[in-house]
């Protein structure tokens, strides 16, 4: 299983991988917001966590279509499905999700504090947003894996995956943003939404790969 993780990370970093695409997209979204909203520093710092979360969410969805499609195109997916008796397919999918997250989404979390400065956020708010992104973004990848598995046979499945997955990611977004606000705005709680966010990630960490494995098993042709 470790070898699958290492292979996917390597593919992500090498030519043709999408590791940087997400970060550039994230940067583009966050960098244009202040121009659109105007130079109202108070407003920017108020909407900062929400904008960072929305940017990260959309950037997460960007590379998802290649999660299984690349393996399907070169025939690897057949062999991964056949390996079900040795490595449970849901576990294989989970490892692929983790590799995808570490390769494509973790850079977004790392870039988030820097982009937080663009939004005139306080250090505490930046830290809280980065932390909630760290805990919450795996959930988006897990839901995305299920969408990617359903759309694996479609040549231009990227848009369909986004449409399928976006409604399901809304709870993650809501609790992620409210936890980020909770850290800075005083009466709002931080811990409760943060714990629900963590619970969502754990819950979807089981449900996402299991349903993706089911879709892949019945989607081979």
């Amino acid at each position: 299983m470790w070898s699958l993780f290492a292979r996917d990370i390597r593919l992500n970093i090498r030519a043709g991988g999408g590791a940087l695409t997400g970060v550039i997209f994230f940067l583009a979204v966050i960098a244009t917001i202040p121009f659109g909203v105007g130079p109202d520093l108070k407003l920017l710092s108020r909407i900062g966590p929400a904008i960072l979360w929305i940017g990260a969410l959309l950037a997460c969805l960007l590379g998802l279509d290649r999660l299984f499609q690349a393996d399907r195109e070169d025939g690897s997916l057949d062999l991964l499905v056949l390996g079900n008796d040795r490595h449970m397919l849901a576990l294989t999918v989970l490892v692929k999700c983790l590799a995808h997250w570490a390769g494509s989404v973790l850079p977004l979390v790392v870039a988030a504090p820097l982009l937080g400065l663009f939004m005139n956020m306080e250090p505490l708010g930046i830290g809280a947003t980065a932390l909630t992104l760290l805990v919450g973004t795996p959930a988006i990848t897990f839901i995305g894996a299920a969408g990617a598995a359903v759309a694996v046979a479609l040549p231009r499945g990227g848009l369909l995956i986004s449409v399928l997955v976006l409604p399901l990611t809304i709870p993650v977004l809501i609790f992620g943003v409210s936890a980020s606000y909770g850290a800075t705005a005083d009466p709002d709680p931080f811990l409760q939404p943060f714990l629900i966010l963590a619970a969502l990630t754990l819950f979807l960490g089981v449900l996402g790969p299991a349903s993706a494995a089911l879709a892949l098993r019945h989607g081979t042709d």
Partner: protein
Amino acid sequence: MRLIAENLGGERGGETVFSGIGFALEKGQALVVTGPNGSGKSTLLRVIAGLLPKAEGDVRIEGGGKTFPTIASAVHYLGHLNAMKTALSVTENLRFWRDFNGDDALDVEEALETVGLGGIGHLPFGYLSTGQRRRAAIAKLLASHRPLWLLDEPTAGLDKASEARFAGLMMKHCVAGGMIVAATHLPLGIEATELRMGEATERLPQQGIIS
């Protein structure tokens, strides 16, 4: 160990491609599936592997013991595609499949030597020619042990010398107690039972001849 198919039928998109296929393959035997294009050779292999649901009948493996209880666990499937990543080197590709498949047989260098690709393991898989890619995919069969090989046009793109070498590898696999089911148009140069598909069944729509 035996591979048994009884009255096996397969379909694609709701249309029956073949039906009533039956065979029993003993340890050390090979079965060559022949027939015109569209007669269902690839579909048969995918149905045997379990990648496609069977429309009717049954296919199973007997006497596999604890290591190989199901066909999927006992099979090396070599399809049209080589299941290798073009961005990774040949060695990286093979090492991954060897680790993932388990039941190590030859190590990566030895497997590459055996198919005549010694010394080019460091090249990215994308730099290889069609025949070399096929040979690298064959090396994958040697890197982990599986008793049953399902080969779909295994010699496509291979030159004469590589074909002969591959025939030798297949014979060695059979002598060691393995089984082979190969779909092919070309003679493979091994002793095998032949299963001809698509002759008795005239169900397929006849293609017009384009002059």
